[in-house]
């Protein structure tokens, strides 16, 4: 028999799930109201980043390990799927899981040495590993080095994850991806692992005293986060039809993956989605409106937005909807 406080927690979880279904339905219906390839394409990207950032959030937000090298997993997933499709003829529907598996394993390999490092040291180590991957990929002829891999059109089919006009089908592909990531996060939040990981994030010593094994917790979070990111990478490769070291392994991509979660609310359920919904359109539209004409303004807008959000809403955009999040974060001194 669960008591009053417990019932409150459980009903809150049910409400979140219910709300999630509603948001899913709205997003599914969105193409009905939004026409035009450009805007639709914008939404596809936003959904992809919502998923990628939620994947990052699992390690960075819930477990507190700030990785700035997640592009590594994105790239591994993208390249694995692309290579399997173009060279072996394996459907990306399978390829993306292969990619996810490889990136999950990579996350473990990276985590094993790197999780001994604390906070900032860990972050910089992830940056370095990401950059090494980018460098090596640019010089590895097996994967076509800097030229990248072009995925030729094999005919419209779900099996190929290719379509003549990719935007609408991929809206749903990315929506499913983002929704699944959200669901994984929701499950984690209520699970034993989730509680363990948040304890690891907050205070490692206290967590140990309660029987939480630190290393395995971090590694588990990393594996799931990495695998999920890899799947996103595979989907991206099929959407765009081209992948190269610069688009797959770059540091700016690593940051772009983490940013929506941070801006939206790190360690929260809705943060990555909110963050992606704001950041991606702002970034893309800035480039479109200001980009080449008056070079630099797009970056200024984007940078200013990040600064303003970091200062005014450090707990993330979720605090606009959820006063509890705000109170928890600001030290009233």
């Amino acid at each position: 028999m669960v008591g009053r406080a417990g019932r409150a927690l459980l009903s809150r979880r049910r409400r979140e799930l219910f709300f999630g279904v509603i948001v899913l339905a709205l997003l599914a219906a969105l193409p009905l109201g939004v026409h035009g390839a450009y805007l639709r394409g914008l939404i596809v990207l936003a959904l992809l980043y919502a998923g990628l950032s939620q994947a990052w959030n699992i390690l960075g937000g819930y477990c507190g390990q700030i990785s700035l090298g997640h592009a590594l997993y994105f790239g591994i997933g993208a390249y694995t799927s692309a290579l399997l499709f173009t060279r072996v003829g394996i459907s990306p529907l399978i390829g993306m899981f292969a990619g996810g598996l490889l990136s999950g394993l990579s996350a473990l390999l990276v985590g094993i040495p790197c999780f001994r490092l604390s906070g900032h040291y860990y972050a910089i180590a992830t940056i370095v590993i990401g950059m090494m991957a980018a460098l090596l990929a640019s010089n590895w002829d097996f994967i076509n080095a800097a030229q990248g891999i072009t995925i030729p059109f094999h005919g419209e089919a779900w099996q190929n994850l290719q379509f003549r006009t990719a935007v609408l089908p991929f809206h749903y592909v990315m929506l499913v991806y983002a929704a699944l990531m959200w669901l994984i996060a929701w499950v984690i939040e209520g699970s034993r692992w989730g509680f363990h990981w948040r304890a690891v994030k907050d205070d490692v010593t206290a967590a140990r005293s309660l029987g939480v094994s630190i290393y395995p917790s971090k590694l588990a979070a990393a594996a799931i986060s990495g695998a999920a990111t890899g799947i996103g990478g595979a989907l991206y490769a099929q959407y765009v039809g081209f992948i190269d070291p610069e688009s797959a392994f770059d540091l700016s991509l690593s940051v772009l993956i983490a940013l929506p979660a941070v801006v939206g609310g790190i360690g929260t359920l809705w943060g990555p989605l909110l963050g992606a919904a704001v950041l991606i359109p702002v970034q893309q539209l800035s480039v479109a409106w200001f980009g080449s004409a008056a070079g630099g303004i797009d970056l200024m807008v984007y940078g200013a937005l990040i600064m303003v959000l970091a200062l005014s809403r450090p707990e993330g955009l979720v605090s606009f909807f959820h006063t509890r999040a705000r109170q928890e974060v600001i030290d009233h001194g």
Binding site: A5, L10, S191, H196, D202, T205, A206, R208, E328
Partner: protein, 242 residues
Amino acid sequence: MAEPLLRIREISKSFGSVAANVDISFDVAEGEILGLIGPNGAGKSSLFNIIAGEIVPDRGEILFAGQRISGIGAVACAKLGIGRTFQVVRSFDSMTVLENVMVGAFLRARRTRAALRRAEEVIALCGLAGRSDTAAHRLSPPEKRRLEIARALATEPRLLLLDEVLTGLTPTEAREGMQLVRGLRAQGITIIMVEHVMEVLLPLVDRAVVLNLGRKLMEGVPAEIVRHPEVIRAYLGDRYSG
């Protein structure tokens, strides 16, 4: 005579040139409340950390329920049934009281509902029921201490190490705290308490061990301790020259 729950054998630990613990030996019987007292720098925290598995001793051995535990680590100790609080409260600030305690409950409970139930039980026991939904960092200091205890309690410990949980409380709060500790013993939990101030501790404990400058000065029942001249000297040492 039943086997003691905890046997501490010649535990020694140095940090650099500072000898924190030198040849500490004593037993703790199951179900008793043992006090660990001594002035600052006596080695109480270090000993606590060693028992809880957070620090590995340089020499010596600890037997918990007949099993050697020095060097197995804090996580293993927790799983064996050693719970502890921290002198400087370490709450999980991003979580509520309920969630904090659930982390502890998850040691024995696999499923969330079971952990929830256990956490609620413990929270009620520790008098925090009204604050379940409050973020941990917004609690008052006495409430934070109780959260520490609740969290450790949720792990279903056989031995509970309480680090200065009664320090700095008002007389009313201290009384409530002592009641809580007695209640825990009534449930069958063995308790070792570190306290700074003897007046608070001695009425509560069955026996006490006095540490000074890293060594064990003496052990015995409160009545003996209070009268012992060396103990008095250790605490008021400044007043006596030489």
